[in-house]
Amino acid sequence: MQAATMGRRSGSLRAERRWALWTAYVSLIIACVIFLMPPVYMLITSLKTNAEMANLQGNPWIVLNPTLEHYRAIVENPLFLTFFWNSIKVTVVTVILSMVISVLAAFALARMRFWGSQWLATGVFLTYLVPDTLLFIPLYQIVGGLGLLNNTWGLVLVYPTLTVPFCTWIMIGYFASIPKELDEAALIDGASWPQMLIKIFIPVALPGIIAATIFAFTVSWAAFVYPTAFITTPDQMPLTIGVVSTLVRGDTFAWGQIMAGALLAALPPVIVYAFLMDYYIAGLTAGATKG
């Protein structure tokens, strides 16, 4: 009797599991199709000749005469290399700056109990909720006042307003998940606060730091509103606006090159994600179970 009940129960469990798997597969496939459609369409378009693109008779999802001419045009365009270099410069400096600020801030907020630290931590997170479409107007005044309008260094100054709050938040969560005894052991072993940060916290929290770095990288690589507002000449433009502003002339869109340029611009974040995906997930979920 008991065995029969157990058999039925495990049978229903298996059925439930199958149902859950099906639901998961179906929704994941739908999500993948929706999110992958634009890049796939971009890829297809970037491989078409201008004549084929202009031909409205054929199926837009099929390439009859694939060509790399748009890619060649982009890569051989010296402006594109300038955009690329500007993006790299701004992103690398922003990432370094953001990580230094957020690791130090998160360490202080997570570990050094001082008056108002809780409020400050909440405050840091709240600043993340202010969108860049709202911030760019006052920031324009500030960047202008510093004489950094139309200058990549102006971007380096404003991008951390997007990256630092979130990175700090991730790092607070990560540091909070490190047992308190570890700092106490280090204190007794003779470590100063900076030594504790460098020799214990940073190595232990490396997955969290990598997650925050990826985030900062993505945000500054893909930023669009700030460069649109602050940069006016092509020599200072990063990829995001450079591709759009130079390849759209009046109402003429060089679609093939726009698509090729956008795909090339999207490549670095994809490569970074592909290599560091595991760290990214581990970093985001740390602290979820404790603290």
Partner: protein, 362 residues
């Protein structure tokens, strides 16, 4: 190596809660002192104040003749072993043990010598290149001890170091800790809630309760001459039996009419207790199977309710006086059956009488 003195030590948390209420304690050089008591008795707080991890509200901590209230932990020359080991997860066993010495800028050869020596003492030489996550609980605890030993500090502090280990390993590590102390002889303050650990390890046991020290003394002293009801009940396993009683005509009268004559040697001691409400305290090991030749004994006939054979002894539970569950310790060879009356001997030379009002042992 150093003496440690606590003078009128108070710890008050925000909101006025006093965790430690003005304790005084002198710990001698080379001594192994164990702070023991139930959760929330203030033992860990006291240890953390010695370590410098907790601010001192009032009073003084003195290590080696210097008041260290305002000295940061790293300059107190102490080493601490934590309950959850607190090993640095990204460092190998060797690096974990060497960390404190590296920070103090010791020569590499000296570090190597000390780490290898500590590893030999703790029998962890083959593990030096491993990371903590590749170690068992017992091995991690050894590494944590190794980290303390290499520093050769004035004082070792242990905060419930065996609580995370399983029962068998705990007994084994207890012996190891005692062996290490016999080798290195560093002054040690050890916190535990386990009275067996306290008794087996300590030169002197400090029993704490509600933020005060109930009694300080060598283990045997606490066992035979507890000062208060709390100590009498806390030290010893199974715990001492307590029964409401009065003293009249040189005998203890229990509430159910049982009369237990007081041995002559103890009569003068209890002369002032006549007529007062008292508690009669007797340990299970002093309630035994019938022993007709035991001096100062009283015999009772009891009806066992539950029998627990333990191998080397048999625990017998029964009703006596107003105690619903009295526990006696019988030789395993004696045949006992539930609900079959049997004669039991009370070793009155090991009895205790407590003033019910003050909880003090008379």
């Amino acid at each position: 190596m150093a003496n440690v003195s606590l003078r009128n030590l108070v710890k008050e948390y925000d909101g006025g809660v006093q965790a430690v209420k003005g304790i005084n304690l002198d710990i001698q050089d080379h001594e192994f002192v164990v702070l023991v008591g139930p959760s929330g008795c203030g033992k860990t707080t006291t240890l953390r104040m010695i370590a410098g991890l907790e601010e001192i509200t009032k009073g003084e901590v003195d290590i080696g003749g210097n008041v260290v209230n305002d000295v940061p932990p790293r300059d107190r020359d102490i080493a601490m072993v934590f309950q959850n080991y607190a090993l640095y997860p990204h460092m190998s066993v060797y690096e974990n043990m060497a960390f404190g010495l590296t920070l103090r800028k010791f020569a590499r050869s000296e570090i190597d010598k000390r780490v290898k020596n500590a590893a030999r003492i703790l029998d962890i030489e083959p593990l030096l290149e491993r990371k903590p996550k590749a170690l068992s609980g017992g091995q991690r605890q050894r590494v944590a001890m190794g980290r303390a030993i290499v520093r050769d500090p004035k004082v070792f502090l242990f905060d419930e170091p065996l609580s995370n280990l399983d029962a068998k390993l705990r007994v084994q590590m207890r012996t190891e800790i005692k062996k290490v102390h016999q080798t290195v002889r560093t002054t040690t303050v050890y916190v535990t809630h386990d009275q067996v650990e306290a008794m087996t390890l300590a030169d002197r046991v400090v029993v704490m309760n509600h933020g005060i020290i109930e009694q300080v003394g060598p283990p045997q002293e606490l066992y035979h001459n507890p000062a208060t009801r709390f100590v009498a009940g806390f030290i010893g396993s199974p715990a001492m039996n307590f029964l409401h009683a009065r003293v009249e005509n040189d005998a203890v009268h229990l509430t159910d009419g049982t009369v237990l004559p007081i041995p002559e040697s103890r009569r003068a001691r209890y002369a002032n207790a006549v007529g007062k409400p008292l508690l009669f305290g007797i340990r299970p090991e002093h309630l035994t199977d019938h022993r007709p030749h035991l001096p100062g004994r009283a015999d009772l006939i009891i009806t066992p309710e539950v029998i627990e054979p333990m191998g080397m002894e048999t625990m017998v539970h029964f009703h006596l006086g107003d105690a619903r569950d009295c526990c006696a310790r019988f030789e395993p060879t004696v045949h006992v059956e539930p609900n079959v009356p049997i004669t039991l001997t009370v070793d009155m030379n090991n009895m205790h009488l407590l003033d019910e009002a003050t909880g003090k042992v008379l």
